[in-house]
């Protein structure tokens, strides 16, 4: 019944609009305004541009200022400070250009709207002007690029020797975290070894993998470099830690990496934001299928001492699941059993 009423209402509304449209067409024909080069609407359109300019500018500034704390995520990494500074410098430069060009673009239509008594200026070119507005943007862009290039080179430079290594493996639809253990060296992996109990496909015939362990949360120390070694085992994923200003694709068959230094512990950030629930997160930003929006992993940043203590408390894969090493060759098995007994 409601559907029917709505349909009737829509039909009525459309027929009214239709009649208004026909009437105004006929009126304009009678008045002969359709013969004029520029009708009265010209003035209205010209005015609309100015109104739009004023209205949109107010709206933009109001919302940008009001919402600043919402969209500007707190920064928690060293390079994040740099890239954010670049972001806001670029925002300032482009913002000025944005405003100036738009003021001109919307003010000219008002100022130079059609007037049959006036003739437009015949002004086909001016080489000096052209050269100026080729060179000025070129210089501005060069400055911006050089800033970006320096930052980019630093960020993508090889990780410091003392970095804490964490392997992050993306798969449909979760992240698996692997720590190298006390030797700070990840064991080899082979995708063919993947199974329900060996999510990362760790190769336990490699001695380095015996102390490798996993963790439901990425725990990292504050103020010390951390190297994410990133892998994927099925389709593309992308590790995105928004507060760390960190993003790197996870590619099957091609390990990638991203190193950074966290600057604030989770607890510090909780105090700073006044949000007791605050957590650092990892999300996936490369479309990967049904659960693309559900690949969440938490990062916990702690003080270095706490991190060391936490590391020492962790139990390797093989301790939690000795079956993983049950069919190793004899001498390795012995080594594995020693490791297991050490942790018991």
């Amino acid at each position: 019944m409601y559907g029917f009423l709505i349909a009737v209402g829509v039909l009525l509304l459309m027929s009214i609009i239709w009649m208004v449209y026909r009437i105004q067409t006929l009126v304009s024909v009678v008045k002969g305004s359709d013969k004029k080069i520029a009708s009265g609407s010209n003035k209205i359109n010209a005015l609309m541009f100015v109104l739009f300019l004023v209205g949109a500018t107010i709206l933009m500034f109001w919302y940008s200022i009001k919402e600043f704390d919402n969209y500007q995520l707190p920064i928690a990494s060293e390079h994040g400070e740099v890239t954010d500074r670049l972001f806001w410098i670029t925002m300032a430069v482009t913002g000025v250009v944005f405003l100036i060009t738009h003021v001109l673009l919307f003010w000219f239509p008002y100022k130079y709207q059609y007037d049959e008594k006036r003739k437009a200026a015949f002004y086909p070119d001016n080489n000096k002007l052209e050269v100026i507005w080729t060179i000025v943007p070129a210089i501005a862009l060069t400055v911006l690029v050089i800033g970006g290039w320096k930052a980019w080179s630093d960020i993508t430079a090889p990780a410091p020797e003392n970095s804490h290594v964490v392997e992050i493996l993306g798969y449909q639809f979760a992240w698996e975290v692997r720590y190298p253990g006390m030797d700070n060296t990840l064991g080899e992996h082979d995708y063919r070894l993947t199974s329900a109990t060996n999510v990362s496909g760790v190769d336990f015939t490699d001695k380095n993998s015996l102390d490798d362990f996993t963790s439901p949360v990425v725990v990292i120390p504050k103020g010390e470099p951390v190297l994410f070694k990133i892998r994927a085992r099925d389709v593309l994923h992308s590790v995105f830690a928004p507060h760390m200003r960190l993003k790197m694709d996870a590619v099957p068959g091609m390990p990638t990496r991203f190193w950074f230094t966290a600057t604030k512990t989770t607890d510090e950030m909780r105090r700073e934001t006044g949000n007791d629930e605050f957590v650092y997160e990892i999300a996936c930003t490369e479309i990967c299928g049904r659960g693309h929006n559900a690949m969440r992993k938490e990062i916990r940043v702690v003080e270095p001492e706490e991190f060391r203590k936490w590391m020492a408390d962790q139990k390797p894969y093989i301790v939690n699941n000795p079956a993983l090493v049950s069919d190793l060759p004899e001498e390795l098995k012995e080594l594995a059993e020693i490791t297991i007994s050490e942790y018991k």
Partner: protein, 629 residues
């Protein structure tokens, strides 16, 4: 010699017209070889696809803006894609996003824009009877049509259309186990794109050949309207880049169906380890973006060309810096091929490449900036008439600025780390590529409608359509910058799973409402378009008082465009408001010798030359006439 050949050419055309073959319905409206009809076919098909693409986006905007809404009422259309509890299926959501992108980029903004106006305008504006090959041109449309039919069918199959994003990155697009859309849906996507690429190449070869070979007498490259320059360069870009997409797609077909490992390596999925090793998903990305980035300019350049023409005409002023405009378009054309990897800063490729591509990318901003300044200077001290075409052109310049400036953020690899694949990118390309090109399309339709159908579109409805769309587009895409800076990732079915993105539900709702209203405003256009086609006011021959050649044709030009000889061209296309001239425009067909009062000093020099040529030509004509009788 040259004049003789031109004269005999037009003679031959005369003969052709003497025994004009009569078109029946099929040869006139369906398998037409007339470039004007083919242009209209592209336009109407493009409009059809724009509606489909727009509706798809409304469905996923409903999900994003109103995640709790009961979508049971969509079940009659979407069937099993609505889950039992009345929600949109997440996999179908991804398919919607994918199809929206594919349809809009290729079918609407490539075929609908370039296909329509390159076909319609190139022969009319350069003074040719038709395209170099009418038959190839017809094939170009029908390949596009077949491509569209296949893509349309893929929307209805049980496993759904391709769902790996419009970029269809493998391994997701290669493995059926990863997402059901990568089964039959992806196969159809690849087949459809193959037809589409063939269509683009057939069209592009034709455009290039026609512009080079079939210009009328006097129409030198330095007298071409900027529209033609834009279409010409667009075709060059397409010709060079589409084959690369084809090879990317072909290798993907091999990986999908024949067990090769171009893009696949070390994959464990669905409980089994696949045998593929040694491939590289990043290789696909390089190949894809080698087309994908030029593609941006394939959709944008024609829109900029149209805007140049419409703004100059309605400012009653020559376009400022005609040469600079051409040079910047040439610059964009060349640079568009060497910036592709800025889409891949965080794809895992060598960071050194990232630095190179950052430099190259920011260079391409310079010609773009020059174009904007030239548009502004064209408006300055003009005598502006706000036809709907003019309004849409000004709107385009605004989007081009807004979206172009955010490109400076994204082209900077250090800043891109955070912004890559967030809504900031979505806002950026929807403004600079989507909306700007769409506005170019609209400007073109409003401006050349009288030439297409011999009738005028209603201007008032055009104004309403413009303001609703212009404001609407900003309301939809401007807020996306905020949620992008906040880090909201693209192609997310829902953001509530994360602390950092568990906000802005109000803003997303606002965007969705704005999107629905903006889409609704397009109904005004649809009505205006189809109604005016049959019932619009009959147009005058040159309604915008424009200088270019197409307005010298009859109201309803037949196949062949000009009933008599093709007019010769004596001047550039932008003689608006020339000092000394009686009218505020001088058509390209008026000889300089006929306008001594307005000639500039260097043009006065040319008058003598021009007189000689005219005399020579008349002698040839007289000789031909006497030899005939």
């Amino acid at each position: 010699m040259a004049t003789a050949s031109v004269a005999s050419h037009s003679d031959a055309a005369h003969d052709h017209h003497d025994h004009e073959h009569h078109d029946n319905f099929i040869t006139k409206y369906i398998f037409s070889t007339d470039h004007k009809m083919i242009g209209k076919q592209f336009l109407v098909t493009g409009i059809f696809w724009a509606i489909i693409g727009g509706l798809l986006s409304l469905i996923f905007r409903l999900q994003l803006g109103f995640p709790d809404m009961d979508l049971e009422w969509l079940r009659p259309i979407l069937g099993g894609w609505i889950t039992p509890d009345g929600k949109l299926d997440p996999e179908f959501y991804l398919a919607l996003v994918t199809m929206h992108g594919t349809i809009m980029v290729f079918f609407v903004l490539t075929a609908g824009l370039s296909g329509t106006f390159s076909n319609f305008l190139i022969p009319l504006q350069i003074g040719a009877r038709d395209m170099a090959s009418g038959f190839m041109n017809m094939l170009s449309y029908w390949f596009f049509f077949v491509s569209g039919v296949i893509m349309f069918i893929s929307l209805f199959i049980e496993t759904g259309p391709a769902g790996g994003g419009w970029v269809v990155y493998p391994p997701l697009s290669a493995l059926e186990q990863a997402i059901p859309g990568s089964g039959l849906g992806m196969t159809l996507w690849l087949v459809s794109m193959t037809f589409f690429i063939a269509s683009s190449l057939l069209g592009g070869i034709n455009y290039i050949t026609t512009v080079i070979n079939l210009r009328t007498k006097g129409m030198s490259f330095s007298r071409l309207p900027l529209t033609i320059w834009a279409f010409f360069l667009t075709a060059v870009i397409g010709l060079l880049s589409f084959p690369v997409l084809f090879s990317a797609a072909l290798l993907l077909v091999f990986d999908r169906s024949f067990g090769t490992s171009f893009y696949l390596a070390d994959i464990y999925i669905g409980g089994e380890a696949l045998p593929n090793t040694g491939g590289s998903p990043v290789l696909y990305q390089h190949l894809f973006w080698f087309l994908g980035h030029p593609e941006v300019y394939i959709v944008l350049l024609p829109a900029l060309g149209i805007t140049s023409e419409v703004i100059a005409t309605n400012s009653r002023k020559p376009i400022f810096g005609y040469k600079a405009m051409i040079i910047s378009m040439l610059g964009i054309t060349i640079l568009s091929f060497v910036v592709w990897a800025h889409h891949m800063f965080v794809s895992g490729m060598n960071p050194f490449l990232g630095s190179i591509f950052m430099f190259l990318t920011l260079i391409i901003a310079i010609p773009s900036a020059v174009k904007v300044f030239n548009y502004l200077t064209t408006l300055w001290r003009g005598n502006l008439i706000f036809t709907p075409g003019m309004l849409f052109s000004i709107g385009l310049v605004s989007f081009f600025i807004s979206g172009g400036l955010t490109g400076i953020f994204l082209g900077n690899s250090a800043i891109d780390i955070q912004l890559h694949d967030t809504y900031f990118v979505v806002a950026h390309f929807h403004l600079v590529m989507g909306s700007a090109s769409f506005f170019g399309l609209m400007a073109g339709v409003y401006h050349w409608f009288p030439k297409m159908f011999g009738r005028m579109m209603d201007a008032r409805l055009g104004y309403i359509h413009f303001w609703a769309t212009f404001i609407g587009v900003y309301l939809v895409f401007f807020p996306m910058h905020y949620i992008g800076i906040a880090g909201f990732p693209r192609r997310y079915y829902s953001w509530t799973g994360f602390e950092f993105s568990n906000m802005y539900t109000d803003l997303n709702m606002f965007v969705s409402v704005a999107a629905i209203l903006t889409f609704g405003a397009q109904l005004i256009f649809l009505f205006n378009f189809f109604y005016s086609m049959y019932r619009g006011r009959v147009a005058s021959l040159n309604p915008w008082r424009s200088t270019t050649l197409e307005w010298t044709t009859p109201l309803h030009p037949q196949h062949g465009n000009w009933p008599g000889e093709i007019p010769a061209v004596y001047r550039w296309p932008y003689d608006y408001s020339k000092p000394g001239a009686a009218e505020d425009f001088i058509p390209q067909t008026v000889p300089l010798s006929a306008t001594p009062e307005s000639n500039l000093p260097h043009e006065q020099e040319l008058v003598k030359l021009e007189k000689e040529i005219i005399a020579e030509e008349e002698a040839v004509l007289v000789a031909n006439e006497s030899s005939k009788s």
